[in-house]
């Protein structure tokens, strides 16, 4: 597959939130303010990229030679959790400024199923290393894009007179549905 097509497809057309419905927790939980959404988005890009490359290496360098492919799920979960802990610790120790920006979002990412999805997807789609790198950047970039767009809309909604029955999460779900419909139309691009 052409790398540009893969990037566009992973980021916009097969968007992890709007077409796969993964990572819905941060999508709903951390989208009340644009600044929060941006911080979370950056943290997700970093963790998904790092965790995907580590999982890829673990699968092809350890599990495949030992014929332990059936262990990919359990090993990837543990690897992602360890990677998040390690990242949190390094940022805490060496970069207080970065910790202020991303620190509170890192523990949330451990429970983000999008991270596991990307790691597993790279294996099931049989991507090579370059395709894995492109996919591991494009998917979280799409996640961040949707999160920031959604947060911007929710921020603007706060000043509006929403009917009581729709206030809060109900109107947020309606917006998410409209966004999903809008992004479906991009499927003609590829």
């Amino acid at each position: 597959m052409n790398l540009f097509t893969l990037f566009l497809s992973a980021m916009l057309i097969n968007n992890i939130i709007l077409s796969k419905f993964l990572g819905m927790c941060p999508f709903m939980g951390v989208s009340t303010r644009t600044s929060n959404a941006f911080g979370m988005g950056i943290a997700v890009i970093f963790v998904i990229f790092g965790a995907s490359l580590l999982s890829y290496a673990l699968y092809y360098l350890v599990l495949v030679p030992l014929e332990l492919e059936y262990m990919e799920l359990i090993t990837f979960i543990l690897l992602i959790a360890a990677f998040v802990q390690l990242t949190d610790m390094i940022i805490k120790k060496h970069s207080p400024t970065l910790y202020k920006q991303l620190g509170i979002y890192l523990p949330l990412i451990t429970t983000n199923c999008a991270v596991l999805y990307v790691a597993m997807d790279n294996i099931t789609q049989k991507y090579n290393l370059i395709e894995t790198i492109v996919n591991s950047i494009a998917v979280p970039a799409g996640f961040m894009l949707m999160l920031v767009i959604f947060a911007t809309i929710r921020e603007r909604l706060q000043g509006n007179d929403v009917p009581k029955a729709f206030a809060g999460n109900p109107i947020a779900f309606i917006i998410a549905a409209i966004m999903a419909i809008a992004f479906t139309s991009l499927s003609g691009l590829v």
């Binding site: 939980g29 303010r33 599990l63 090993t75 690897l79 610790m89 202020k100 949330l108």
Partner: protein, 65 residues
């Protein structure tokens, strides 16, 4: 033999996680970051480590009112 290797890999990863978790807990939080709290009230994951902080903050706010 392969099953044993698989179990060893799983145990190694669990051990790595446990070690990193305790090391992370022991690492001091940078100055000025002690009171960082997430704004994630809409999230439904009840066993998240951040949820207790959020619940405490809500209780504090209720107590003040």
């Amino acid at each position: 033999m392969n099953a044993l290797l698989g179990a060893a890999i799983a145990f190694a990863l669990v051990g790595l996680n446990a070690w990193l978790y305790t090391a992370n807990k022991k690492t001091p939080v940078p100055e000025g970051c002690e009171e960082l709290k997430p704004d994630c009230s809409a999230c439904g994951i009840r066993d998240c480590a951040l949820r207790s902080a959020l619940t405490e903050r809500k209780e504090e706010n209720n107590g003040d009112n």
